[in-house]
């Protein structure tokens, strides 16, 4: 099977400053790719390039024929901290906005039904008329996941979905992603290495360049080799480096 997305020699960034240089990457059906790297290394930049929000300086991003076109079936969950929580909008309208590219092709009755069904499935039907400002972190994340999924995408892109989320919902979220992954490809940016090694299938280390790691087992040695300066620690655990230092 051909790659869903094929990135060839991509250089991209903001204004005239490149953040990523010479990136090559292929995403296939049912991939679950974890994207890791230091802050400012280009993780979000890579996502934005795939989503078409940034134009490549060099190189290209190709999509397979069935997901071609302006209205690509890509679901996107952005970093929640960039969203204005005081905006006067209800949960129902946020989720419905995930269908904006399909506008006109569906009657309003079936749109309503579709939104309600998904809200039910995600267990947040009862908060559908609440304003987004009234939600907890976990509810908020579920709402944005619904918005990303309502268009039945072939690829789901998530940018740090585990920020502001309690442990219980984090577990539910990744379990949900594991099931979704049976049908669609997932690209996940996360700071949490514990999550990455537990749920993803392959890893991309991004720090100006992209190094592809074709399994979810990654060692500190691999990371050093990829010039990817992050520590493999689970959030809340004591870092190895600190322990070593302490025992001296």
């Amino acid at each position: 099977m051909d790659a869903l997305i094929k990135i060839v020699n991509l250089t991209v960034g903001y204004d005239k400053t490149p953040v990523l240089k010479g990136v090559n990457l292929e995403i296939f059906d049912n991939d679950f790719l974890g994207v890791i790297g230091p802050n400012g290394g280009g993780k979000t930049t890579l996502l934005k390039a795939i989503l078409g929000l940034l134009k490549p300086f060099e190189g290209k991003i190709e999509f397979r024929n069935d997901i071609q076109g302006k209205k690509k079936p890509i679901g996107y969950l952005p970093q929640v901290r960039h969203i204005d929580r005081k905006f006067p909008i209800t949960v129902f309208d946020v989720v419905k906005s995930g269908l904006m590219m399909l506008n006109g092709s569906k009657s309003s009755v079936s749109v309503k039904q579709r939104v309600n069904d998904l809200l039910n499935e995600m267990g947040i039907f009862e908060i559908k008329d609440k304003a987004i400002g009234e939600l907890s972190g976990g509810q908020m994340q579920r709402v944005y996941l619904c918005r990303a999924l309502i268009s039945n995408p072939k690829i789901l892109i998530l940018d740090e979905p585990d920020t502001f989320v309690d442990n219980r919902f984090e577990g539910e979220l990744y379990e949900k992603l594991r099931i979704l992954n049976q049908d669609i490809a997932i690209i996940l940016v996360s700071h949490d290495m514990g999550t990455i090694v537990k749920y993803v299938k392959t890893i991309a280390c991004v720090n100006e360049k992209l190094h592809y790691h074709s399994s979810n087992q990654i060692t500190q040695k691999d990371l050093d080799e990829y010039n990817c300066p992050i520590q493999i620690i689970k959030y809340g655990e004591v870092p190895h480096i600190f322990l070593k230092h302490h025992h001296k």
């Binding site: 078409g52 969203i83 905006f87 006067p88 909008i89 309208d93 906005s97 904006m100 506008n103 008329d129």
Partner: protein
């Protein structure tokens, strides 16, 4: 009560009433958008910059509203240019255009020979002197705003809420932003005669704050804002007539008072 009804026999009062209806609808909707998107300050900049156009019109002897439209659109583009191309911080470029427009207005008015009696009505508004031609302009503006928001409600909401997400869905975000910015400029300018340049920001923000006490639904917020704007404008109009105080200021005072009372009621009830 009978004096209130008798007031409507007067031509000037009837026109003022119709102006209040039109101003409430346009400012209610556009203000709801402005507040939700947090672009109150940029709207203030455009409003004040339009004073330069009014001054220029006085100096050269053409319709002040036309001068205001030109300066409003020019400053909206100027702020965009300063921010995006010349890389000046957005709040600073707004302040530059804001004060430049006011300064040009004062210079032009100073240079205009003779007395300019209408100047105060542009700065502070006088709903009682609105002309029939101005009412037709306001009517046209209301038709444009209502049809635009009715047809493109979803697009407007989605872009206002999350511009980036709207871009990924292929919506023409840049086009919509420029279009709405032009409509904001027109709304501000065509409503200047009602409350004036200095006070129009309140018609764009206070009814919205009041409406926001009762709803977080964007559609309801726009409608409710218009309702509260209308309540404030009409009460202000009567207060202005019976107490013989300036109408613009009376309207603003009523709007804020209404907000204050309803806000307090929410605390205690």
């Amino acid at each position: 009560m009978s004096t209130v009804i008798e007031l409507f026999k007067y031509d000037f009062f009837l026109k003022a009433f119709v102006a209040a209806v039109f101003a409430s609808i346009s400012c209610g909707i556009i203000g709801g958008y402005i507040v939700s998107r947090r672009i109150v300050f940029i709207s203030g900049g455009i409003t004040h910059a339009s004073f330069g156009g009014i001054g220029l019109a006085f100096f050269l002897g053409f319709n002040p509203i036309l001068g205001a439209v030109i300066f409003a659109i020019f400053s909206a583009l100027g702020i965009q240019f300063f921010t995006k191309v010349a890389e000046i911080r957005e709040d600073s470029s707004i302040a530059i255009w804001w004060s430049l427009g006011m300064a040009l207005g004062i210079i032009f008015v100073f240079l205009t020979p003779g007395y300019t009696p209408n100047l105060m009505s542009y700065l502070f508004g006088n709903i009682l002197t609105v002309s029939v031609l101005e009412l037709w302009f306001m009517f046209a503006l209301n038709v444009v705003i209502i049809s635009f928001f009715a047809i493109f409600f979803n697009e407007i909401l989605y872009i206002a809420f999350d511009e980036e997400f709207a871009k990924t869905a292929g919506l023409p975000v840049g086009f919509f932003n420029y279009l709405i910015m032009s409509i904001i400029a027109l709304t501000v300018v065509l409503n200047i005669r009602v409350v004036g340049i200095i006070l129009i920001l309140s018609l764009l923000t206070v009814p919205q704050a009041t409406a926001n006490l009762f709803t977080n639904n964007f559609r309801k917020l726009l409608i409710l804002s218009s309702v509260f704007a209308f309540a404030g404008a009409i009460s202000g109009l009567f207060i202005s007539y019976f107490l013989d105080i300036p109408s613009g200021a009376a309207i603003i005072f009523t709007l804020v008072l209404m907000f204050g009372i309803l806000r307090l009621m929410k605390v205690f009830i």
